[in-house]
């Protein structure tokens, strides 16, 4: 339970910045997800907070105390590594107990705490196993237990669920969320999965090339992406290139009113905001493929100019591959130079969403 303040932190490797002038405040008990493409500096940032890399510039404060130069063992942080990093010469129990032993807790208490940590991650009977006898998922959970048992003030998770199957992943994701909320641990969570970020995070930080693109709660990120990059990165998004002239988009299929200056624009719309209906128009699009996800179907639509769009339809929709269709945008964003220039939703809806976003 702590307040974390990162101010203007940079990290140079050789001559290239892995993290550049990064600032973020994380409140008590908040869970922040770091999202970004591979190589965007997420791990590096986490490692600087944990004390494993020294920032080339900037300061990191935990509860107002400057920890920028402290070694890892003197920071109140707990880290779960991308590559579990279990100690293979110890069994599960000792892996988890190691940190407690360092704190010279009485034996009985260590045993008790390790056992409850193991129970927490669903490995109650595994304490005497060697770590090499565990499957990848179990190893990851031991690594999690190892960090949690020390009740760190700040928990740092670097893609903890990367090697798990989807089911386990979803289950653990919820467990971590529950534990985190119960213990009120301030948490930073790196992930590759946007679903994970959307499901878990109080706020999401979208990173790109070591910088932040947007910091906002999940529903804001999803519904009001501030840049084209964020729009494309979180969830599925269709992009259509076009030009505006006199406030109207010149795209043959999407002659929308866009009240901004003339110039090139990128229209963006979620698959669920793209509706299609059969059509015989010359400019009509073609259905390329339909994928059934059970809960919905995803329809790939090829426009005349080759752009491929995705539309989400109900699982009982009768659309078929090869059909000629006309897509329409129910709601959309307009980006120019990566910046949000216009959004189709009325301001009222926006306010409503903000009210909804944390239930």
């Amino acid at each position: 339970m702590a307040h974390l303040a990162i101010e203007g932190v940079s990290k140079l490797f050789g001559t290239s910045f892995a993290v550049r002038d990064f600032s973020l405040e994380v409140g008590d008990g908040e869970l922040v997800c770091l999202l970004g493409p591979s190589g965007s500096g997420k791990s590096t940032l986490l490692r600087m907070i944990g004390g494993f890399e020294r920032p080339s510039g900037g300061t990191i404060r935990i509860d107002a105390k400057d920890v920028t130069t402290l070694p890892p063992e003197r920071r109140p942080t707990g880290m779960v590594f991308q590559s579990h990093a279990l100690w293979t010469h110890m069994d599960v129990f000792n892996n988890i107990a190691f940190g407690l032993k360092l704190r010279r807790l009485p034996k009985a208490e260590i045993r008790e705490r390790v056992e409850s940590a193991l129970a927490l991650v669903g490995l109650a009977d595994y304490s005497r196993r060697m770590t090499t006898q565990l499957s990848g998922g179990q190893q990851q959970r031991v690594a999690l237990a190892r960090s949690l048992v020390l009740e760190p003030k700040i928990l740092l998770l670097d893609e903890p669920f990367a090697s798990l199957d989807q089911h386990l992943r979803e289950r653990l994701r919820e467990e971590v969320r529950d534990i985190q909320q119960r213990l009120g641990i301030t948490t930073l969570f790196v992930t590759h999965g946007q679903d994970e970020a959307l499901a878990l995070a109080d706020r999401i930080v979208v990173m790109r090339d070591g910088r932040t693109e947007q910091i906002a709660p999940p529903s804001t990120i999803y519904r009001q992406p501030q840049t084209a990059f964020v729009a494309g990165f979180i969830g599925s998004m269709n992009f259509v290139q076009g030009r505006t002239r006199n406030g109207v988009c010149e795209h043959p299929l999407f002659p929308l009113a866009i009240p901004i200056e003339d110039g090139p624009v990128t229209l963006a719309a979620r698959p669920e905001a793209l509706t299609i209906r059969p059509s015989d128009r010359a400019e009509a699009a073609t259905v390329h493929r339909i994928v059934d996800f059970g809960t919905h179907k995803m329809v790939d639509v090829d426009l005349a100019d080759g752009t491929r769009l995705k539309a989400m339809v109900a699982p009982d929709d009768r659309i078929r591959a090869g059909m000629r269709v006309e897509p329409r945008l129910a709601s959309f964003f307009v980006f120019r130079d990566n910046e949000l220039a216009h959004q189709s939703m009325p301001a009222a809806a926006k306010a409503e969403i903000e009210a909804l976003q944390r239930v």
Binding site: R47, F52, E53, R54, S56, P71, P72
Partner: protein, 275 residues
Amino acid sequence: MTTGRSSMDLRFDWIGLLFACLLTLFIALPLIVVGTWAFTEVWRYPSVIPQQFGLRFWGQTLARGDVWDALFLSLRLTTTVTILSAVICLPAAYAFARMRFPGRNILFLSFLASHAFPKFGLLVAIAGIFLQFGLISTFWGVVLIQLVGTLMLMIWIPVAAFQNVDRRMEEAARDAGATPLRVFWSITLPQAAPTISAALLLTFVGTFYETEGAWLIGAPEIRTMPVLMISFINNQIVVQYGAVLSVMLWVPSFIALMFARRVIGTGAFARGFGA
């Protein structure tokens, strides 16, 4: 220990400096002394530096034809032994690392015997064997005896190296259509290269400085550099001959070492070793 490169960029590497100083004292001081002796004509207590520097012994050493003959002979011999050793030992090491056959462990471990039994007890018996084959005082006789000495190193270290090669890489290569032989040549060997180079280096140096076998089998025709050195140094009141010879050998060694380090890379120098 530091946590790695992380703490290197801001703080000065004090530990490194400490090690560098201590090692300089412990390792380099005797070397410097030898180096100085090589250029010394008179150096008596209590003078800190020699009373008289000079190149007399260099002149005397380098002018001797047998020194150069011995040097080139040694290089030829050592190279032959190292290559032969690699040729016969690497496949064997691969077999020990990757194949199952009866008696594998026992055979593997029996190589220990070549290092555990005192040499003098073996050499005479070996000489007896060689005499029957007319190998005494021949190039190939010396090659053979030195080859035997390299077996353990050249098998044990590469075994560890081969075991560390990811099997999937080999499988991927077979999947791409490579025969087992080709997999060994194109994938396994290069993957194990750092450790194998370390083994080769150790073998080369070890063979180069081997004297007992080289003398017993090689004399009188085959006189290697270290055998010559021994006769220069042993019971020789003038230490400078030996000093000159070793300094002469250091220069190429040092270049080789630096080169190897660059090629092989830090740390990788010794990966494996069964450790």
